[in-house]
Point group: C2
Chain length 163, copies 2
């Protein structure tokens, strides 16, 4: 079969809307965090989600060294944090821009996010440039019911009709 | 660490908005399709996405037997198709409700969807009740720039500001 061009693939993927999360970690391998839109549920038995992570990410060594992450799903007003954690500024400056706590694993939990999934990494599968992290959810925090959605290379706000 | 309750996990996952897709297949193992929201990009080198699929799905035998899928990302007006392919009606009735074509693999491509990713399944990883299908994208079709987004157990429409 033919192989499609990477640019055509990226343009097509821009048409698949997704919630925006900040994935954080902390522990012996250091505190780090990055913006991710490739996050989804895998199974509720046992509760497991996945995160796709570029192995070239500045957070990669910390995430895989600590083996824990918190997936903080952003609420609509947290667009500036999405840009900050998707950019080039150092981890210290990123984390200084928001209020954080912890749940079970010690990974930073973002105040005011739509929902936070505190996780232990159970398995990792490598696919090309990326690692797929399979994460067992060990604690939860919920917040506002609206989401920051990225579609068409722009941010949108979507509010749940029922909380 | 403690294990969280499945119901608490599902309630938390309802706060993570996602685009809605109909994942289809056709070939020697039969034509089938199901509604999925656990779809995301893995890497653009080579272009690969993933789909999480319950092994109890009525489409499971056909999908794994044919080893090809088309991920049809729904546009806002295709909410009735999402309900139909997420329900209990037989495949024949599901497919009769829309217009389909094919690209490279022979998997059904939905007319009027936001974007269709025609794929060969390259690898499968089993996690609990689900299989994670790693799918190499071999052809694309694009349509309207708005998405049907599922958040808070309800459907929403999100329109890209630029096409």
């Amino acid at each position: 079969m033919t192989e499609i061009a990477r640019e055509d693939y990226r343009d097509a993927m821009a048409r698949l809307g997704a919630a925006v999360s900040i994935v954080t970690t902390d522990g012996p391998a250091g505190r780090a965090g990055f913006t991710a839109s490739a996050v989804c549920s895998v199974t509720d038995d046992s509760p497991t989600l996945l995160v796709c992570m570029n192995r070239a990410s500045s957070a990669y060594v910390s995430v895989t060294g600590n083996n824990v992450v918190c997936v903080n799903v952003l609420s609509a007003q947290q667009e500036p944090l999405s840009r900050l954690f998707g950019g080039k500024v150092p981890a210290r400056e990123r984390f200084a821009a928001a209020v954080w706590s912890t749940l079970e694993t010690g990974a930073p939990v973002l105040a005011g996010c739509a929902v936070a999934f505190d996780c232990q990494i159970a398995n990792v599968t490598t696919v090309g440039t990326h690692d797929v992290l399979f994460c067992r959810v060990v604690a939860l925090q919920t917040g506002p019911t609206e989401n920051l959605i990225y579609l068409g290379r722009a941010y949108h706000s979507v509010r749940a009709r029922h909380s």
